[in-house]
């Protein structure tokens, strides 16, 4: 679906990502993990075309991303950034309607509104369609942004820490929703800090440390040594009923 081929990136000469390669398969649900500042957000911005790699290439269905116009790309790929606060109020409906942007030249039409309302109903947001998003809870707001991403009819959705600020119930709700979407064939990539949440819902993992890719693959790449090495925290790993849990013990 989307492949990273030896990409590296620097902000003003400061190398932030070094030689990253990975294939994101169709319908996979990948967690990009790593300590603060390891380059997760940067990687997601690169994949979305907001940033351009310094070296290497990002291929979307074997087409170099640099060759795809951003508005055409937006019909295939949606991005849910981490910080989301509007200065001016906007309703849930208008926010989701904005997801139709890649398909419209000037203003949205009847079909865009119909599509929007079907997405709202699908995500159970129809009751709050005319509420100001700044007045929603974080959990509801995250759902609205996922709805906006879906309004783009994308094949790929990138999300930067979609579960930050959410309580236990809403964390699981959002992750279950993303898992459901990946099962329908949408490729999902998230940056996430909560290892256990990622282990429960994601199918692929990619670990970054100081801009280097230290591991990638499925559940079995997660080992005690790896986590202790990256996070400098002593952990215990428990495997129970096919699930893996990481319990932090103390800083190393």
């Amino acid at each position: 679906m989307i492949s990273l081929k030896n990409i590296s990136f620097s902000y003003n000469g400061n190398m932030v990502l070094k030689d990253i390669s990975h294939d994101f398969l169709r319908g996979s649900f990948t967690a990009v993990m790593g300590p603060n500042g390891s380059g997760k957000t940067t990687l997601i911005r690169l994949m979305n075309g907001i940033l351009r790699p310094l070296h290497g290439a990002i291929m979307l269905r074997d087409i170099p991303m640099g060759k795809i116009r951003q508005d055409v790309l937006a019909q295939e790929m949606a991005y849910v950034p981490q910080v989301q606060m509007n200065v001016f109020p906007a309703t849930v409906f208008d926010t989701v309607l904005l997801g139709r942007k890649p398909y419209i030249r000037w203003n949205p039409g009847k079909r865009d509104k119909e599509f929007t309302s079907s997405v709202l109903v699908k995500l159970g947001l129809d009751d709050i369609a005319l509420k100001d998003i700044n007045r929603l809870s974080s959990g509801q707001r995250q759902r609205v942004f996922i709805a906006r991403a879906l309004a783009q009819e994308p094949d790929i959705i990138l999300l930067d820490e979609p579960t930050a600020n959410l309580d236990l119930q809403h964390q699981h709700e959002v992750m279950a929703l993303l898992q459901l979407l990946s099962n329908t064939g949408i490729t999902i990539v998230i940056a996430i800090h909560d290892l256990n949440l990622a282990l429960k819902y994601c199918s692929e993992f990619m670990l970054l440390d100081e801009g280097r890719q230290v591991a990638q693959g499925s559940h079995d790449i997660i080992s005690k040594e790896l986590i202790e090495d990256i996070y400098k925290v002593k952990v215990r790993i428990i495997k129970e009923e096919g699930q893996t849990f990481i319990i932090p013990l103390k800083p190393l």
């Binding site: 911005r45 979305n48 075309g49 907001i50 116009r69 951003q70 508005d71 055409v72 790309l73 937006a74 790929m77 949606a78 991005y79 950034p81 910080v83 989301q84 509007n86 200065v87 001016f88 109020p89 906007a90 309703t91 409906f93 208008d94 926010t95 904005l98 997801g99 942007k101 890649p102 419209i104 000037w106 203003n107 949205p108 509104k113 119909e114 309302s117 079907s118 709202l120 109903v121 129809d126 369609a129 005319l130 509420k131 100001d132 700044n134 783009q152």
Partner: protein, 357 residues
Amino acid sequence: MKERKVLDQYSQFTRRKNTFLVIFLVLIIIIAFVSMLLGPSNIGFKDMMNVFAGKGEGADTQILLRLRLPRILAAIMSGLALSVSGAVMQSILRNPLGSPFTLGISNAAAFGAAFAVIILGAGSMQSGGSDSVLINNPYLITLSAFIWSLVACFLILLVARMRGATPENMILTGIIASSLFMALTTGLQYVADDIELAAIVFWTFGDLSKGGWRELVIQAVILTPVLVYFFRNSWNYNALDSGDETAQSMGVNIYRLRMRGMVIASLATASVVSFYGIIAFVGLVVPHIVRRLIGSDERYLLPGAALTGAAFMLVCDILARTVISPLVLPVGILTSIVGAPLFIFLLVKGIGSSQWK
């Protein structure tokens, strides 16, 4: 079906906004007619209709078509130009304090006009009287006002590029630019003679009495494409309002949108300031009134600001002509006296947190 219900709710929601726009349009027409009938010489509704039908008395025709109508059109065009510019700047800078005046664009344009009058000799004074500034070359003055407002606008964009387009950076640069151009205008006053001095003072107090048909035509020629551009891009401004990264990921070229928007808003501002002088607070207060009434969806905000701005200016102009009649106050003083308390009121009520659910 649930989908239908949401759609119906939404179209009801947008219909209310459209109703608001229509009401304001009607309101403007009514206020404009009232304004036509107000003044020292008593002209009745019948007399006015006769003039419009082309069979009015000579004196009435003179007063209505040469004095009052141009003034009313000047109020409408200036009000809408400043308000739409303010609304667009607020979106571009993602800051509720954006407006041609707070960003120093108005002061820069006023300096440009004074610069054209004094250094380039584009205007002169007739002796005495309140109508004593004579514009010899309106094109040169507008051009100079525009160029200098662009200087202010690029200053802001430059800082935005270097230090990031945060609200603080923009507003601080605006305040600095504002005082810089005020100082430069004061500097010009030093080298000016009495007559030129009066001309400079003229541009620091917005006054609509200078609106002749020639100026109105120039203004209309400038503002028509400006409005078309802004209205067409309202969905892009909506994207911008939801965050730079979101807008970019939707394919909006945010740098180009910001750059063009600032330049075009500056042009619209210059078309007002260069002819009538600085008219403060309209561009700041009017968008907030509209945000409160119909929300911040740019598709409705921009036309709403245009209509409300025109109505606001018409009312301020009526007040300017009537409060100490027969003396006519500069309308710029009225917009500040009305606008400043109104803005503080809106501030106390909470900017951006619209009552509109």
